[in-house]
């Protein structure tokens, strides 16, 4: 960590450089539209939800578990927020804690089944996610629910700081909190050891079950936060909102693990990975490329970025 080593620093910041290069490229091609502060504030503001989902994923990933239910958790949270607030008239200040509790409750269910029955988290969370999707369709009658209180909308996107909607700052604050927890608390190290060597952790007095449970609850919480922000961003909830987010969030989590702290899932890396990918997509839209080019870019960038990062590190064997 404290060694200064050009190769290692290149590896840590490789993705940042590629991101900057991409911005310059689009900037040269469309200086007047792409390279404006308002365009960047749009990019930063609109992908806060994806950032939060990605941050939610990396917590159980660090502990060695997958949470595939986070996307459907988001959708349900978004739908419950809209139904409680817009349909049943529950004030938003009461809705939010309730929804956060539901999210954490889902985390508890995921964790309890995974831990008590010793089943792989991938299948548990896939099953729970599908179940949650069913609930969402049920309570919403498969409809989009709009009419959410404008105060929620105000504190999610209308309020801006430096021109960027405030939800971006929420995401950054969450990122900073997770970074602090990962780096400066015993829980962060316990997560890491749980993910990399459960037996070592257990014999060193780490309550591995509690650590994993904590990770599931945290990702459930993040899913609910993302759901509330989603509703706040769009002023409505639709029953398929989260579906689009799962694979991009996984992509960003793994891509993020190639930078800042290579070889580990880390929050700043995740944020950079999200915005790198989004910048590319946005730039292609601004240039008016057809949408298949977005897929080519997304897939290609992902693969090339991890390849380059591995080349820099000398193709080191890694467990993630």
């Amino acid at each position: 960590m404290h060694r200064i080593d050009i190769k290692y620093e290149a590896e840590r910041f490789g993705l940042v450089f590629v991101w900057i290069a991409l911005i310059l490229l689009f900037g040269v091609m469309r200086p007047e539209t792409f390279l404006t502060w308002s365009n960047f504030s749009t990019i930063f503001g609109s992908e806060a939800v994806l950032v939060i989902v990605t941050l939610g994923l990396i917590i159980p990933l660090t502990a060695g578990d997958f949470d595939l239910s986070i996307a459907q958790n988001l959708t349900l949270a978004s739908m419950v927020t809209a139904i409680l607030n817009a349909r049943l008239g529950v004030p938003i200040i009461a809705t939010i804690p309730l929804v956060l509790l539901i999210g954490m409750g889902i985390g508890v269910v995921n964790g309890a089944i995974t831990l008590y029955f010793r089943v792989h988290s991938l299948i548990v969370t896939l099953g729970i996610g599908t179940f949650l999707h069913g609930i969402t369709l049920w309570i919403s009658n498969s409809q989009t629910i709009s009419g959410v209180s404008s105060s929620l909308i105000k504190y999610v996107i209308v309020t801006r700081i430096l021109g960027i909607p405030i939800e971006f700052y929420y995401a950054i604050i969450l990122c900073a909190v997770i970074w602090y927890v990962f780096s400066y608390t015993a829980y962060g190290q316990h997560l890491l050891f749980t993910g990399r060597g459960k037996e070592v952790a257990r014999l060193t007095g780490v309550n591995v079950g509690a650590v994993r449970m904590g990770a599931f609850i945290a990702s459930g919480f993040m899913g609910a936060v993302a759901g509330i922000l989603y509703t706040g961003t769009t002023g409505s909830a639709n029953p398929s909102s989260g579906t689009f987010l799962l694979l991009p969030a996984f992509a960003a989590a793994f891509l993020g693990a190639t930078c800042i702290k290579p070889g580990r899932f880390n929050p700043w890396g995740s944020v950079i990975a999200v915005y790198f990918l989004v910048t590319g997509i946005n730039g292609l839209s601004v240039l008016g490329f057809r949408t298949f080019v977005q897929d080519l870019f997304y897939g290609g960038a992902l693969v090339v970025a991890v390849m380059v990062s591995q080349l820099i590190s000398g193709r080191k064997e890694r467990s993630i």
């Binding site: 709009s146 769009t234 639709n238 839209s285």
Partner: protein
Amino acid sequence: GQSDGVAAAKANIDRYSKIPTFEAPGEAFDAKACMAGKSIFTIPASSSIPFIKTIADHRNEIAKQLGFEHSIWENQGNPTQWIQGIDFSINNNFDLISLLAGADPRFFEPQVKAARDAGLAVVTAHLTGLEQDVPGGVTSATAIDYKTAGSLLADWSIVQTDGKVNALVLVSNEALSTDSMVSGLKAAFDTNCPDCKYEIVNVPISDWATKIQPTVRAKLQADADINYVIPIYDSMSSFVVPAITITGKGDSVRVATFNGTPFVIDFVREGQVEMDVGENLDWIAHAMLDAEMRILCGLEPVRDSKVPLLIFDRNNAATAGTPAEASKGYGDDYVTGYHKLWMIEK
């Protein structure tokens, strides 16, 4: 009596079985002159859906012809991208945002409000039925006669079975047009064939690929007398057709649907789908742009786009080309019609 109903249904079908004629949605105006210096920003529901992509591209060509600025926000149907598009158009001083064919403003009312506050007009195009309210706080909604489309689906099955319909109707409730189509379909059954049986099943759009097949298969097993499957959007037919084949009911169960997507017209030609109510995409492009230009030119806004419907069955499917193309088979006097309306041709 029943035969009256069948006759009424037949009349309705006949009305929409001939090549449509152009009907002006409003007074003529000098489009080139009044659109000078104005700009329109189109956000298609998804540029990876060919139906929508084609309309957007045709709008682009017309705009070029008329000499005003028109941009398309390429996206993949993700609401976050729609929101980015709205912000982009505000930042780049467009005059009007056109939410094309499914970019539902209820998904992002705050952004719509922001755009209107910034002085932009926000219009939905090809989203609502004639009788539906303007959704999500937009300036205006250019509507399509979905209700009639729904009634045609019912009437067709009534005519073909001589009033003995037992239909499975597949809908997607989250699309605004569904309400309008379903009300037309129900009304047609109620008036023309009260004894006909139909069951409406909702399959959300994102679940089409996984749920339509098993649902259709099981329904056909559960009720051996079903003789029509009516997927109200024709892209559903790629899942409906194999479900019918696998249950071995290709002979007794027929498919009637709506949209006129080229591959489904191919299916009609080949006999896997019996009929498809089509819309001319190029016509839609003209009509939607016409309505939007009227707003920018300060004219009376139009709600009814007067985009006509045309029934394709095995008799006329080949007029759409082999393989079928998006705007073929509808005649082309509408082009001259719009050119005259816009005063670029006398």
